[in-house]
């Protein structure tokens, strides 16, 4: 089990406990925690409704070409932007801190 801090769009902090043996990604975790993350495409990096900014200095897997492609169609993209569905929750991500990106229309 690890802990992840998610800051929602109203700047409220949520500490979520995440099991690491269920093949969960950050989008799954946010949805399970009833945070306002739509995850429309179900985790295929084909929409950008799980767009987050990674605040902590964790060593994440670099974005795949598919994720970068989707980011090209997203808005409010910053240096630390990632798609939550592409962040697999593993033991080394304990203490991860992310902020939900603004919802695009």
């Amino acid at each position: 089990m690890i802990q992840v801090k998610v800051i929602d769009r109203e700047d409220k902090e949520h500490i979520l406990d995440a099991p690491t043996d269920m093949n969960l990604n950050l989008m799954d975790l946010c949805k399970a925690g009833e945070l306002p993350v739509e995850g429309t495409c179900g985790g295929m990096a084909l929409c950008s409704t799980c767009h987050v900014y990674v605040n902590s200095k964790h060593n994440l897997q670099p974005a795949t070409e598919a994720e970068e492609d989707m980011m090209d169609q997203a808005f409010f993209v910053e240096e630390n932007s990632r798609l939550g569905c592409q962040i697999k929750l593993s033991i080394d991500l304990d203490g991860l801190e992310v902020k939900l990106a603004p919802q695009a229309d």
Binding site: T40, C41, G42, M44, L46, C47, E65, E68, D69, M71, D72, Q73, A74, F75, F76, V77, P102, A104, D105
Partner: protein, 337 residues
């Protein structure tokens, strides 16, 4: 006016399978979809991706599943109105539903089935606060007629195939053409990327990479865009047109205004037959919600099979419906009309 037994809004997998299930009960179907081709998200978003939870198929590509569903529906001659969005519904006096599309096509049926999935696919609009002021006054999300841009100053934003293709196409038409893209790499087809780079070297296309359009200025008509460059800050450019090409995303759309009970962007239904609060209107697949709902294609198929039983009773109030297996009866299609 198109008349049928069951009017299906949405030509995705669940809408297509409805044609088959309805056909077994001798009911005709007509489908409407805002996309130009059938298949819904499977065709539009992930045609080349495998699906592993269709019963009987250990693995099938989304595009192939749509192809198979089309074949399965074919004996029942479904009608299609594609590339049009079902806009309004009127309940007429003879207890049928009259649907009008955004292009004015009128369709009528005693049963209306909403199998709209995630909703209608619409262009993603950049979050620039005053963008709606300039829509059709310099901002276009879809290029209808390239000639419209002849000898005009045009700025395209985006990094995918459509942004690249239109940049190549408009290079010889527009007076001045700029492509703005978030990264320095492009994800489009390799030869399109090469061509755009060539056009850039030839001075026909200006490339602004690591940049995003963040503002629009003008008085009723677009006059300037503000571009933010990763390192160099903001610059303002004169333009006649701004064409953001960021792909499509689904929106619930006009269905929201049809008087149906909606909870979190989904239509509430009774799991007995997936009927909505309006008698004669059903909702199946990803667009509906009920306790325990799962957004799976296989659940949508199940919903379609149950729903047509109630549709039959509405269409044939005098008839009793015997239950039959296709293995026994075979599939008896409709004669070509």
């Amino acid at each position: 006016m198109i008349k049928t037994d069951i009017l299906i809004v949405g030509a995705g997998p669940v809408g297509l399978f409805t044609v088959f299930e309805a056909g077994l009960l001798k009911m005709h179907c007509h489908l409407i979809d805002s996309l130009p081709q059938p298949g819904g998200q499977l065709t539009e978003i992930y045609p080349k991706k495998p699906i592993y939870d269709i019963p009987g198929y250990p693995k099938i590509l989304a595009g192939d599943l749509v192809k198979n569903l089309m074949e399965q529906a074919k004996p029942f001659n479904p009608g299609f109105t594609l590339g049009e969005r079902a806009e309004t519904v009127e309940h007429s006096r003879d207890n049928s539903f009259l649907v009008t599309t955004n292009r004015g096509t009128k369709l009528q049926a005693p049963v209306l089935v909403i199998a709209g999935g995630l909703g209608c696919f619409e262009p993603r609009k950049p979050p620039i606060s005053n963008i709606s002021e300039f829509e059709d006054n310099g901002v276009e999300y879809i290029i209808k007629d390239p000639e419209y841009y002849r000898n005009k100053k045009v700025i395209i934003a985006g990094g995918g195939d459509s942004a690249l293709d239109w940049t190549i196409f408009l290079a010889d038409i527009a007076e001045e053409l700029t492509l703005v893209h978030r990264r320095s790499q492009f994800r489009g087809a390799l030869d399109s990327v090469e061509k755009v780079k060539m056009l850039n070297l030839e001075g026909k296309v200006k490339l602004l990479t690591e940049s995003q359009v963040v503002g629009l200025n003008g008085n009723g008509k677009l006059d300037e865009v503000v571009v933010k460059h990763g390192k160099e800050g903001e610059l303002t450019m004169k333009t006649d047109h701004f064409i953001p090409l960021f792909g499509l995303s689904p929106k619930l759309g006009p269905v929201a205004n049809w008087g149906l009970n909606i909870d979190k962007n989904a239509i509430e239904v009774n799991t007995l037959d997936y009927s909505t609060n309006v008698p004669g209107v059903f909702a199946i697949g990803d667009i509906n919600t009920y306790p325990g709902k799962l957004n799976l294609i296989l659940c949508g198929f199940h919903e379609a099979a149950l729903m047509v039983q109630s549709a039959f009773k509405i269409i044939n109030p005098e008839k009793k419906l015997p239950f039959k297996y296709t293995t026994v009866t075979g599939v008896e299609g409709f004669a070509e009309e």
